[in-house]
Amino acid sequence: MSLHPPRYSLAPPTLRPHASRVQVVFWATVRERLGAMNIVLLAFIFTVVLLQIIIPFYFATLVPGLANGPELSFFYLPFASQVWFFFVVLLTASVGAGVIANDLATRSITMYLARPITHLDYLVAKAAAVAVWITIAVVAPTLLGTTIVLALGYVPLPLALQAAGAFLGVGILTIVAFTGLAVLVSSAAPKSAYAAAAIFGLLAGAEIVAFVAWTISGEPAVLYLSVEQDVLATAQAAFHVPGGVLDPTGAAAILIALGAVTFYLAWRRLATIDAVAE
């Protein structure tokens, strides 16, 4: 063992500002979530979304007069198929489950909170990292798909911009709701495996429960319980798809409220954690 005190060869640096410490935690968490499973899920998501965006326009080009040419509603197909949604839920569970639960399980949260950051800083950094991953799954493939069909000349620029705006709007609502739910469950679960199951259950399971309840009761309002139905309702409105049973404004409000409330509850939950346990 060396028995010499550290000889710092650099002059004592000025400590970086508070925000940069939060950024350090954020980027470390983004990298930490870069696992093989998440990469595979993203590959599936990109493949599914790109195909579902490009193929309808391709066939519309092959068959002149089909559906009166390219329309904004063509872009709704990824939502309608629900395959995309399923993979996004899987990715959210995979990315979000351990984001706080792992720190609680290993008690490494002590190392964060005993440093010059607050509980809220920690939560913001962790939530932002989850949001980045969900953004990659929700916004990036849709914008890429829109860019491709624009580049291939399948759609005019105004339509592409309108679609990109719609994807971005629905995507932000989805990111807010999914991220809030993920960090709350992760902060409350003793193990990341439990958190993953809970996130998947709350997002995908709620769809089944809401659908069964709607079938039995005939009351469409129960569909508001399903995050997926709320996303679909806002997407239908954004892409001018007729036939929605839910009010898109109400659905959007529910998604925003879900994100805000779950984030707040996660913050309250973290505030109860003893950073320095007995």
Binding site: M1, S2, L3, P6, P13, V24, M111, A114, P116, V276
Partner: protein, 323 residues
């Protein structure tokens, strides 16, 4: 009280941390009860049995827990209001295992340095240096999940040191270490304690660790302050009482000693007596023995170690308290 503690420490230095009538309750449990103390720079042993309130005090000093009543200050700052500023200047080594298992040693220490505000290049350079200091130069690129208990303790010390804080808070740093590892850790702590302008608080229930590293102590028991101040002064004042072991007619010795103004009282055995150190010198004790025809088999301070001091204070909590 504050003045008393400072006077007893004999430092006269600005307070590193202080508490005024600090109380913290958890429901019906009083974790800390009316703690008042003032501690100057140096190596401070925060000692007491499990449940004494050491960790609660640390949490309050770090600004992670609000006191129920009373106040505390670290570097003159209020932990409740200036917790971030305090934690910038404190390196905390927790007792429990709380490393990030998938990280390498150097990656983890540098990461913690960055979370403390160090720029990335400085954080990595210092991470290498402190890992070398704690004896993990060869293992720094291994994942923390592969580290032994001793190596984990050293990494925890390294992450507390990486941003070169003026104050180290070390919670049971020798916990779980074998004798060799413990000795090595204490040697490191001693070196750290000797750095000018740097202080450490060693929270432990192992009194021997404090004796090897610290020059000041804060003793807690059941959430109350037993005593605080300079270790040498405390042991010196405790040594004001002498233990005498007598061979022969003990009663005759007691009479002779009493006649000379001494105040002997019975100790733990029939041949053992305790008495205040005579103002006129220890010759009076030998004179009493000569007069009574007895032999002095042992003569020494009643308290010579931290353990004896602690036990004597626990037996007499009020008498030893500085409050």
């Amino acid at each position: 009280m504050a003045t008393s503690a400072e006077a007893r420490s004999g430092t006269g230095l600005p307070a590193l941390f202080e508490a005024r009538d600090l109380t913290r309750r958890f429901g019906a449990i009083d974790a800390l009860t009316g703690i008042s103390l003032r501690v100057g720079e140096g190596a401070i042993g925060l000692i007491g049995p499990n449940g004494a309130g050491k960790t609660t005090l640390i949490r309050i000093l770090l600004g992670l827990l609000a006191p129920t009543s009373g106040s505390a200050a670290v570097f003159g700052l209020d932990p409740g209001r200036d917790g971030l500023a305090i934690r910038e200047r404190v390196g905390y080594m927790p007792e429990q295992d709380c490393l990030i298992p998938h990280m390498t040693g150097v990656g983890f220490v540098a990461y913690m340095g960055q979370v403390s505000g160090l720029p990335e290049d400085a954080a990595f350079q210092r991470a290498h240096e402190v890992l070398q200091f704690v004896g993990l130069k060869e293992e720094r690129y291994r994942k923390l999940s592969e580290f032994s208990v001793g190596m984990r303790q050293r990494v925890k010390l390294a992450q507390a040191l990486v941003h070169d804080p003026p104050l180290l808070l070390l919670d049971e740093p020798t916990s779980g270490l074998d004798p060799g590892g413990r000795s090595g850790m204490l040697a490191l702590l001693r070196l750290l304690a000797e750095r000018p302008g740097r202080s450490l608080v060693l929270s432990t229930h192992l009194l021997g660790d404090v004796e090897r590293v610290c020059d000041q102590v804060v003793m807690l028991s059941n959430g109350t302050l037993l005593t605080s101040g300079s270790l040498a002064a405390l042991l010196g004042s405790a040594g004001a009482e002498l233990t005498v072991k007598v061979r022969g007619d003990v009663d005759a010795f007691v009479r002779a000693a009493t006649a000379r103004g001494l105040e002997p009282r019975r100790g733990t055995t029939t041949a053992e007596l305790r008495l205040p150190r005579p103002a006129m010198g220890e010759e009076a004790i030998f004179a009493a023995a000569l007069e009574s025809g007895t032999q002095i088999r042992y003569l020494g301070p009643s308290v010579s170690t931290m353990e004896e001091l602690f036990l004597s204070l626990v037996d007499r909590p009020k008498a030893g308290a500085t409050a």
